[in-house]
């Protein structure tokens, strides 16, 4: 099994530690993983802003880089969802179909393809999970409160096995954080208010470290936490699963 690692553009440039943790984690799990160096971005920033046609080059570049892998794994539910859901704008060659079918968010890949739960990690903190929307309602990485059916959450299943983690229940576990790509800038007032409310919910629930499958949500929340100097640490799930504190 050959696995291609996709590191989203903003993680590559701004949060390389998330990429490192993801790679180390996959290597620890004895995955034959490679990072194709010609990769850039999945195309989502343009597409969600209404410029899908400007993202065609990014889509093609993505497929070129990843067409030879059995699986494509990425520490982002949102990017994986974008490839799966919105790569219908380029001709559906066998390569494109293969890429769309085989792209996985990290937790999903570990739990459902590798079928591993206990990663031997330890992280002695009170952790609050923010269930990023595209992973939750797009990829169905967990049940959401609107839908009637069995309750599950991949990210929490993995966290439960981490030594020392105390999972803190929050009041609105699957409400959006307000990032939303360019929404964060075009609808600044609402975006900030949503983020503030999300942080408040976690702080009031006794959370020390907030985590998620997506660094985009976390970048927005971290920006607020840092500006307001709030006592909340923000880490991507890969960093916790790769931790041995």
């Amino acid at each position: 099994m050959k696995v291609g690692l996709f590191i989203p553009c903003y993680i590559n440039q701004l949060y390389p530690q998330v990429g490192k943790a993801t790679l180390e984690l996959l290597e620890k799990l004895k995955v034959d993983v490679a990072y194709p160096s010609g990769q850039t971005c999945c195309g989502q920033p343009m597409a969600n802003s209404g410029y899908e046609y400007e993202s065609v080059g990014a889509c093609n570049n993505f497929v070129d880089n990843f067409k030879d892998f059995d699986y494509i794994v990425t520490p982002s539910g949102s990017c994986a969802y974008h490839v799966k859901k919105h790569y219908n704008i380029i001709p559906q060659t066998d390569e494109v179909t293969k890429v769309r079918n085989n792209v996985y968010e990290l937790c999903d890949f570990i739990l459902n393809i590798l079928k591993v739960k206990d990663l031997g990690a330890s992280f002695p903190f009170k952790v609050g999970v923010h269930k990023s929307c595209h992973g939750l309602r797009g990829l169905r990485l967990g049940s959401c409160s609107e839908v009637v059916g069995p309750r599950f959450s991949y990210i929490e299943e993995l966290l439960q096995e981490v030594k020392g983690v105390e999972l803190m229940p929050v009041k609105r576990s699957d409400e959006c954080c307000g990032f939303g790509g360019t929404f964060a800038v075009t609808e600044e007032a609402i975006s900030v208010k949503m983020g503030k409310d999300k942080i408040k919910d976690h702080l009031e629930s006794g959370v020390e470290v907030m985590t998620a499958t997506d660094t985009s949500c976390l970048m927005h929340l971290e920006g607020l936490v840092n500006r307001n100097q709030q006592p909340l640490k923000i880490l991507h799930i890969a960093e916790i699963l790769n931790s041995s504190l």
Binding site: Q13, G19, E54, V148
Partner: protein, 459 residues
């Protein structure tokens, strides 16, 4: 004004935003508590979706069947191509019956057509009888929510409004007292009314009858007391058979408020002796929406308001920020079909979180349609030069790995080196309330390449 502008005005009063958000989250929570106890809820949603999709694919046939049956029942059926014609038809019926005083129960369609001002211009008194609608009518505002029209007003505002218009005593916003006074005031209006106007929740092709749902009983008080009953409906309110009500009445109230069913689900078919019943069937852009494969499912909507209650943006921006008859997520996919330029900011008033689609009782893919409207809006309406250009530049950077590497380097350097005051200065909306990340010296890409090189050396 655009949604972001109106939303930021609403957000100037953070306490009010918190209050509005909590009130609607509470309704969403009641909906959850109710639907999680219904065996087969998701199958029920599938049925709601399937029946509506079938209906739309046979709509002309079912409309004809409905009309024929309604005529047989002694009901007069009228057709209006647009809002203006709807208003003229209603006006004419009222004039023919010498009706000067009209009571109206909630109908989003008559709001959409701006019926009240049309009738009032001819000296006809139109009283909205749903309590929430009466409150906004007295305040001279449009409803801010389709099920809870006055959800943006707190009880003290209602208290003051009633003191001014109904002569009530100051009561510190006591909802019991205020509702009691509204009951007395509106009881008089019901007794005096010459005609009653209601909306239609469902019109049944098979019987020619229609169903109106209320909790207050205002539709029935109006319709059974006044000698003339006019029911106004959009073409998409048709359902094929009476038994389909079993599906939709199970979905509607639970999704709207968490109640297992509305207090009154009234099935009107024939007028009682000596009385008149009219139905006005309105298109007003619906047949055009039907022509758009990506957007026609928006016509499945049964107007429960659940997408508003669940929407994190709606809850924090208020219904009026949408500047449209139907606010919230469903309004944001309906309104662009009517006036793309006027409503061009609405499909962007969303993070595409998808909660609206998951809560929708008839499974409209609302967030997917928001995404699709965005693609159309950027092509068909004027866009800010800077947005268009930056998307183009970004598109070309991401298409070419070498360029991406260069730009990334510069960006990281800037974030690391430039003073915070510059980074967070005015043109950067991100930095108004949020810090940007510190740019690391090394990208993941750099680190990985180095690591691979070192591996090579070590081997």
């Amino acid at each position: 004004m655009s949604h972001p502008k109106l939303a930021s005005i609403f957000n100037k009063d953070e306490k009010k935003v918190d209050w509005h958000d909590k009130a609607l989250w509470f309704v969403r929570h009641k909906r959850d508590k109710s639907v999680h106890h219904v065996q087969g809820w998701e199958e029920l949603r599938n049925l709601g979706h399937g029946i509506k999709a079938h209906m739309l694919s046979n709509l002309d046939i079912y409309l004809r069947e409905f009309e024929a049956n309604a005529n047989k029942n002694g009901v007069e059926v009228h057709w209006a191509a647009n809002a203006e014609e709807h208003n003229q038809i209603v006006h004419k019926i009222l004039k023919d019956n010498n009706a000067k005083k009209v009571v109206k129960s909630k109908s989003m369609l008559t709001e959409e057509c701006h019926l009240n001002p049309h009738l009032e211009a001819d000296g006809i008194e139109v009283i909205d009888t749903d309590l929430g609608e009466r409150i906004v009518q007295l305040a001279k505002e449009p409803p801010s929510h389709i099920v809870l029209p006055a959800i943006h007003k707190n009880k003290h505002e209602v208290d003051e409004l009633f003191q001014e218009h109904l002569g009530t005593k100051p009561c510190d916003g006591d909802p019991q007292y205020l509702t009691g006074e509204a009951r007395k005031h509106l009881r008089q209006k019901f007794i005096e009314a010459d005609a009653a106007i209601t909306g239609v929740n469902f019109a049944i092709a098979e019987t020619g009858g229609f169903v109106v749902c209320t909790n207050e009983g205002n539709a029935d008080m109006g319709a059974h007391l006044a000698p003339v009953h006019i029911a106004c409906m959009g073409v998409e309110k048709i359902i094929p058979k009476q038994e389909h009500l079993g599906v939709f009445l199970r979905l509607l109230a639970r999704s709207a408020t968490g109640q297992p069913v509305t207090t009154y689900s009234s099935h009107f078919k024939k007028p009682s002796d000596g009385r008149k019943m009219h139905i006005v069937i309105v298109d007003n852009g619906r047949s055009e929406q039907l022509s758009r494969p990506d957007f026609r499912a928006s016509l499945h909507c049964i107007r429960c308001g659940a997408c508003m209650n669940t929407c994190p943006i709606y809850r924090r921006s208020g219904g009026h920020s949408y500047d449209a008859t139907i606010p919230g997520p469903i309004g944001s996919i309906l309104s662009p079909g009517k006036d793309l330029t006027k409503h061009s900011s609405l499909p962007f008033a969303s993070t595409l979180c998808g909660s609206c689609s998951d809560v929708c009782p008839v499974k409209i893919d609302i967030h997917a349609q928001l995404y699709k409207w965005r693609q159309i809006i950027t092509k068909e309406t004027p866009q800010p030069f800077i947005k268009k250009k930056s998307m183009q530049v970004m598109g070309s950077i991401f298409a070419k790995p070498k360029q991406f590497e260069k730009v990334g380097k510069i960006a990281r350097w800037s974030l690391r080196t430039l003073p915070k005051a510059v980074i967070n200065s005015k043109p950067n909306a991100w930095g108004k309330a949020r810090d940007l990340p510190t740019g690391p010296k090394e990208s993941f890409d750099d680190w990985y390449k180095k690591r691979e090189e070192n591996k090579g050396k070590n081997n």
